[in-house]
Amino acid sequence: MNAPATQPQAAPRLVLRGITKRYPTVLANDAIDVRVGVGEIHAVMGENGAGKSTLVKIVYGVTRPDSGSIEWEGRPTIIENPAAARHLGIGMVFQHFALFETLSVAENIALALDERIAPAALAPRIRAVAERYGLPVDPGRLVHSMSVGERQRVEIVRCLLQSPKLLIMDEPTSVLTPQAVQQLFATLRRLAGEGMSILYISHKLDEIRTLCDSATVLRAGRVSGTARPREESAASLARLMVGDDLQEARLTLREPGEVSLQIKDYSMASDDPFGTALHHIDLTVRAGEIVGIAGVSGNGQKELLAALSGERIGAYAGAISLCGVRVDELGAAARRALGLGFVPEERLGRGAVPAMTLADNTLLTGSRAGMVRHGFIKHRVARQFARAIIDEFKVKCAGESSTAEQLSGGNLQKFILGREIRLAPRVLLAAQPTWGVDVGAALLIHQALIGLRDAGAAVLVISEELDELFAICDRIAVLTAGRLSAVQPRAALTVAAVGLLMAGGGLA
């Protein structure tokens, strides 16, 4: 551990010294040093909230540091704004792409370039770059018809057109299938081989160990260590990142009970022109089991959840039953009364009201648990309920009078999950339960879901994280383009097989 990074022959491409950035509530970066050599793939790793995004924004000129210095190819530099960063030769591929869906690839790229070039004139250059790096992209294609992986390629090609010397990739694999990840890595290795430096932002240990030459690990805004990932184990990297040893959640074998949630041949059109229609979904979840639905977001997850929760009752065919009762015409409140719990993907604004206190937020779904009598709110009961959630799920906050927006993403997620679990649902839906949550909180969430399963509830988890699904699910299915594959026992599946299904091949 703490082995020095490889010393490149020339001056390093980028050196950050003592970068510090303070926000009103948090010291996001505290005296951070990073050094990226020529042709080096350097990982900046850390949990959510460790300060990775802030650091990247500083390098790309989006934010200014409060103190510290930046050296670019040996010269002290101030990066005033993203245009200046691009002028220096820094390119960035964002986690969430900024592409106009109704425009073509060439039009999108023309809009993003600093120089003004007609899209038609740009097309041959796009083709040349795409060919050279093995990134198949058709300049004339409309973006809305492209998969997420293809859109990412557009973003990479856009950066490469400006022949950058440093390419920043912010969590690039969070939206990709395992196969697409392998393709991306091949491209990145090739770019590095030609002398481009790559700053690779991620919290996924396995990827960093396969891809990166060196790594800077951030924890709570500070550098907690530097490492050569190939010489480390996943466990030792995790220790650097989290500062503690982690125990994985365990699933004990258990015989599932009667069917609690049944979806039969369910189809529904999408009300959003860029949404996904659901086609003939068949799924049963029994009491005492966790069923996982894998797949890249945008393949019908949102629509399936809205149909199951009762938030959207559009034109549909098929049937949904909850504990033996047909519910497809019932609204969200009626389904909840039958024993449905739901942890939505969006926490602020959907799972919780941002400006309301945690006590008031328990009322959102908990009104049936004795918090309302004769139409009057029992504030005392709501406060007690909120306190119980905070204690049991170790929600870090100032108390039940804190507002939801004051909590960090992970703590709010623990609160929402805790609220739904303490309402003792017979069926729980959980969407991306650990998305953006730190490793410790993710573990607690996994254990809570397993606890609910062991207590006899049926749990349906929809997630992009395959590792998560393999850790906590009894059975797994894959949702691709609005179609659900057959649900198979976890033991019968491999990550590669699920990846193939995610990419749309071999639908069962």
């Binding site: 670019w72 010269r75 409140a333 969006e346 959907r350 309301m356 959102l364």
Partner: protein, 362 residues
Amino acid sequence: MIGFPWRLEKRAAASGWMRVAAPLIAAAAMLATGCVVFALLGKEPLNALNVFFVQPLNSLYGWGELLLKATPLALCALGLALGFSANVWNIGAEGQLILGAVCGGGVALFWSAALGEWALPVILLAGIGGGAAWAAIPAVLRTRFNTSEILVSLMLVYIAQLLLGFLLHGSWRDPEGYNFPQSQAFDERLILPVLLEGQRATIAFPLMLGLAALSWLFSTQLFAGYRMRVSGQAPAAAVYAGFGGSRNVWFALLISGGAAGLAGVCEVVGPIGRLQTDISPGYGFAAIIVAFVGRLHPLGIVLAALLMSLLYLGGESVQLGLQLPAAVTGLFQGLLLFYLLAADLFVDFRLRRAPPLDGRRA
């Protein structure tokens, strides 16, 4: 780098202190700007402020006028605030107020004899019903056809004004009224009793205070009020929790329409005493300002209504005392709302000195 050395920075949490202070800061800024305006008009500012804000309250009669004008403002604003906090934007309280006056006035003109001693309560209920029915039109259109209640309720104001004019120029006109567009004066037993002799404020003022207390109870203690607040602050959370959207729209519009209708009928069976074409000097629109200056909170609304009422009285006072135009009232109202919106920025943001930069430019 040359530039403004201060920058706006988002606060970690909305400042509760600033939320209360913003209306006070806005009122102070309104007074300061008012001084400048008076000076530009060639009036001695302090004297003008005295005429505007102090002289109207020199007598019992003046205090009565203050309460009298504050009552319809607060009634309309209390109803509007319920809707505003639930994301239902009723802009047409003025029209609902007129319809309340028309329906209440209609009962007073044509059925009061048959109703006997029940006439006054029935008149008030008819006023509430008229306002609520007028507000039901945007409710139907919004819940059925997804139209904007902002536009519909606003347009209905003009229809209400024309309807009132149509009746008073036509069949409801007083035959002995020398062709003025007004109805017969109502019978004395149909007029709301005044609070004290020697002034004009009626029992509508304590009635309004009671409704303010009910509104507080509703929004803080009742689950229905909670559901409306959730719909206003986080519509997706309301859908998630299964709080039906159209129920809230109906509720908000019926309550605010009914409250505005009550305000209207209390005017015609109060200080006016008959139906006429100008019932309200824009109470329904000024109530929008009152609702926001009062932070959508019942107590704040009562205080803001008193302030707004004083602006009306002061405007009349400077017209008489200093020969200034009537537009001065609107000017002060506008200043108040303008400064309030500006001061509200600092609820969520604060000014901070820009951090100095170290290091050299490349």
